[in-house]
């Protein structure tokens, strides 16, 4: 029994349903029964297992289709929905010694992994620069001194935090046992996108994924929505932390006092200084104080992108009013020298509570910055003085709105079934969503219980995102990835710089976004570089995948490895085409022609024109081996040409593991491997 889930269910008062869960055994009562109609749709158990694995994991590992069939598809799915399998391999690959930040609180991170502004303040404090000449920091001599100071005080660079974030995602996706949880973490993070490209939220992205997203991916949508809304990363990313109002009693008193004080200062200044310069300065402060206020950014996106969808039936007035309802939602002061920290400590919890402030972890509701007027949102009245709960109720209303149910279910179906899911499928899922108040597990079970999920039109219909593609290659070959950041560089090059997508929309989830001329060539190149172990830190034992039996010919290698890497696919045509190619009678002549060509330029040569901004982390220095000398190249070509009379090409020479790797690379770069 999952006690955490039990506890949550109790708190919403549904004790009866929890009692019945005891009777039903190991799944929660609000979940429909798993009843997958794959046989009706003409699929064998093996085909169904392969399809399930292709959608609910980051790709099948060798032999996994058989494992799932042996275990039973229902049981496997239930295990994934429960998401409690031990993850020793992930733990082993993410040791505390190099992944210390993964367990840190927001507060610890803010005080350890400093952002650019904090670094400048430290530099200024230590007289390395004065505040106005921050650009000096780029000079090497300052950088060295700054690094020494930061090391001495136990501070660490941001890049290291981002390295840990990126690497853990790759490790969990490649080696985690609870694959569905990881797939959904990817999905929901993208749905509630925040971005490392925005400085203000950078430090919080890692804890955001860990605390707001991953914990809630198989729970209730409302819980997930609230967790994201209250997390510092989202509060900064969509500016809600700085959206404030003085329409409340506390502020009106404070403000009157403050303005009166400034007025007096201004009069004093005017009396002293006839030019009026300092009085003007004070007036500016007063203007700025008055114009402090509402920011609609989060309110708009929470309706358009997180819940109801753009056609969900809300107006510009609704957006503005939701923004007002969420004024005062902010972040606890976290930096140890921050002035706010002292104020909060001085006030103490009792006084804060009395005044209507709410502290929940790192979330802080500031009663003095909340608009306390009555509000009308989507036709529902929210009376005056609603305080913190008003915003919660607004988000709950959004989470359970019929437009939201439809929007979320459409998006889930587009991720798990096909780019344009049928109306019938979505409407079945939407019914479950509304019936269960947004129970994500129940919606997913409803989805696999529909014929549309198993329809021939849905099989292999989705194109893998670059991340899914790279991870599926790691899983399909049992590759050992020692430097995950190298995989990140490739995924970026293939068009998915994850954690950096700037727009709140997240990456579009459709084939036409991922597949274009440039990205397709990069996918083929990834296949080749990966399988031939040209990506630093990637180790693959191809022979082991075939129980150390060596294929006897190119044909055999093609057949055997195609089946290992692409289980339950019809590969006859693929193999026929490639076999024809490797048996081409004119191959000798073709090799001659090819030998006269120059090697393609390195992707990392000094002429590299890629200016896409990337992190300065040393590991970004990408992935190719050192350039061969002219002599080595000649020798290679000669060696290859000397084999020209062999019946097969350099693509495969029995006993030559590097040629087996090339065959594998071609399978990974092939169109079939792009599909899931």
């Amino acid at each position: 029994m999952n006690f955490r889930r039990m506890y949550k269910t109790f708190t919403v008062g549904a004790s009866l349903t929890v009692l019945s869960a005891f009777v039903q055994g190991n799944h929660s009562s609000s979940d429909p029964r798993i009843n997958m109609p794959f046989k009706k749709m003409g699929l064998t158990q093996e085909q169904a297992a392969a399809h399930l694995l292709s959608r609910f994991t980051f790709g099948a590992t060798p032999g996994q289709v058989k494992e799932v069939v042996d275990m039973g598809l229902d049981k496997w799915l239930q295990q994934q929905l429960d998401s409690k399998l031990p993850d020793d391999e992930v733990a082993r690959r993410l040791p505390d010694s190099s992944y210390d930040a993964l367990g840190m609180s927001n507060e610890a991170i803010v005080n350890t992994y400093l952002n650019a502004g904090q670094v400048i303040r430290i530099a200024a404090k230590n007289n390395l620069i004065n505040k106005d000449s921050a650009k000096n920091l780029d000079k090497p001599e300052y950088r060295a001194q700054l690094k020494a100071i930061m090391d001495a005080q136990g501070f660490k660079p941001q890049q290291d935090l981002q390295r840990q974030l990126v690497n853990q995602k790759i490790i969990r996706a490649a080696y985690g046992q609870n694959q569905l949880e990881e797939v959904l973490t990817d999905f929901w993070f993208n749905h509630f996108n925040v971005s490392l490209s925005k400085g203000q939220c950078q430090q919080f992205v890692m804890p955001y994924e860990r605390d707001a997203i991953r914990k809630n991916v198989l729970g209730n949508f409302e819980t997930l929505l609230l967790a994201t809304a209250k997390h510092p990363a989202m509060l900064e990313y969509l500016d809600n932390a700085s959206s404030v109002s003085n329409d409340n009693d506390i502020a009106r008193k404070q403000e009157a006092g403050a303005i009166a004080r400034l007025e007096k200062q201004k009069m004093d200044a005017l009396a002293k200084d006839s030019t009026g310069a300092s009085a003007q300065q004070i007036q500016k402060t007063m203007d700025a104080r008055k114009s402090q206020g509402l920011n609609e950014n989060y309110a708009r996106e929470v309706m358009e992108l997180h819940t109801m969808g753009v056609d969900g039936g809300y107006t510009q007035t609704d957006v503005t009013t939701v923004a007002k309802a969420l004024t005062g939602w902010g972040i606890m002061p976290l930096y140890k020298d921050a002035p706010g920290m002292k104020l909060i400590e001085a006030a103490g919890p009792a006084l804060l509570a009395k005044k209507g402030y709410v502290v929940d972890g790192d979330f802080l509701f500031r009663a003095d910055k909340h608009n306390e007027n009555a509000k009308l949102i989507l036709g529902q009245l929210f009376p005056v003085n609603g305080g913190y709960n008003e915003g919660v109720q607004v988000l709950q209303m959004l989470a359970n709105h019929p437009s939201t149910a439809k929007f979320i279910c459409t998006k889930l179906a587009a991720r798990f079934v096909c780019d344009t899911p049928s109306v019938e499928l979505v409407s079945k899922m939407t019914d479950t969503y509304l019936k269960t108040k947004g129970n994500i597990r129940a919606v997913l079970i409803t989805m696999v219980n529909q014929r549309q999920f198993w329809d021939e039109k849905a099989l292999r219909e989705k194109i893998k995102s670059p991340f899914e593609f790279a991870i599926s290659a790691i899983r399909a070959t049992n590759a050992d990835v020692q430097q995950p950041f190298q995989i990140y560089n490739w995924v970026t090059r293939m068009g998915q710089r994850f954690y950096y997508y700037q727009a709140p929309t997240g990456f579009p989830d459709r084939a036409s976004y991922w597949i274009n001329t440039g990205s397709l060539l990069n996918r083929m190149n990834f296949g080749l570089a990966f399988a031939t172990e040209k990506i630093p830190g990637v180790k693959i034992n191809l022979a082991a995948l075939n129980d150390n039996h060596e294929p006897e010919s190119a044909d055999a290698a093609l057949v055997i490895y195609s089946k290992i890497l692409l289980p339950e696919r019809n590969l006859d045509e693929n193999i026929r085409r490639l076999t024809a190619l490797v048996k081409d009678a004119n191959i000798g002549q073709k090799l001659n022609t090819a030998a006269n060509k120059i090697a393609p330029a390195s992707v990392n040569n000094p002429d590299n024109m890629n200016m896409q901004p990337v992190s300065s982390s040393d590991e970004m220095i990408a992935a190719q081996d050192a350039p061969l000398t002219r002599r080595q190249r000649k020798a290679n070509e000669k060696a290859a040409l000397s084999r020209k009379n062999l019946p097969v090409t350099t693509l495969y020479v029995a006993g030559n593991t590097s040629t087996l790797a090339q065959v594998t690379g071609i399978i990974i770069g092939s169109p079939e491997f792009q599909r899931k």
């Binding site: 700037q502 727009a503 440039g518 190619l581 393609p600 200016m611 693509l651 090339q662």
Partner: protein, 422 residues
Amino acid sequence: MVDRRAFMKSGAMALFAAGLGGVPSFIARAADSRKILAPYKKNKVLVCIFQRGAMDGLMAVSPYTDPQLKILRPTLYMSPAESEGKMIDLDGRFGLHPSLQAFSPFFTEGRMAIVHGVGSPNNTRSHFDAQDYMESGTPFSKSTSSGWLNRAVGLLGHDAATTPFRAVSITSALPRCLYGDNESLAINNLQEFAIQMRGNPLASNLASKSFEQLYDQTTSDILNKTGKESFDAMKMLDVNNLKKYQPAPGVVYPNTAIGGSLKQIATLIKMDVGMEVAFAESGGWDTHFNQGAANGALARNLKDFSDSIAVFWKDLEAYQDDVTIMTMTEFGRTAHQNGTGGTDHGRASCLFVLGNDVKGGKVYNNIKTLNKEDLEDGRDLPVSTDFRSVFSAVANGHLHINDNKQLFPQWDGSSLSLMKSI
């Protein structure tokens, strides 16, 4: 200059002759139809730059004489006055942000037109929707599957089958405006445009052929079509030749995303690969928070943007008669500043058109005042020029496309007269 161009052409011929073994299918097609490969007749090139996130047009090009502006934007207001940010005065009414200094000579020489109050008749303030509408060119119809630039390619009027580089986007994914039936390419980095196995050209070539076969027979339409385009393009853009097309002496592109994109577009123009439409994008314009005035986030972005365009123009000295650059952004920002020193999503913004075909030196506009009664919803600079009247004018005047009904279906407005030829 003439010699240089002649050299460029023969260089491109050589590039062709030395193409990776085998005749690219587009050349074969051209040979069948007895078209002469020159390799490419010098065509006009339109370069579009999308400023994603909605540029604050009121700050980039400021109607600084309007007394309301100072009231609405107490800490953001700027004017040509020394004490108010030293904007560059354009015509006594509008001032150019000092960070757009690089545009100033273009405007003075009459090569650059500025259009202000531009936007979409659809009043959505969602980035996603507004970009979608501006790129599809149909502001009230989401279901339009093609983009306006793709339709423009189809309307160019000469044979389209000869080059895969006719429409190129320097992005990792194809932008909405290039969706459609006419072949378009997205290239993030020209260098990566080859099948590569380091130090092993034989294996590269064989792998390349294998992939070509596999993508030729896949049942997935998108993989099949894109695969074919990829291999055609790869054969033509031989990456070994790229270094011959480095920036002109003394030309240094800003080391930024937009600088890098324009550098690659310049390379493609110099290579004479037959490109007629190019697209690039620039980000960071969504300035909700502390956008700054003469200095700050917006100022830095404006400087990068204008410096990159100016350097690009200089790099293309020999080609300037053939190139027009047009910028665009999905909407403008609120006339008033918000409570956090920034501006929220608004309606109209401004755009820039640079080229020798342009009737420049003028701020085209129908802007009234910023008085509350003249603002849309009492808060935003209203759209007084439909973006389609600018886009169509540039397409008509530079690319000689005349069918505005097909270019912008559902629109019967007229084009703005900002190009010399119309």
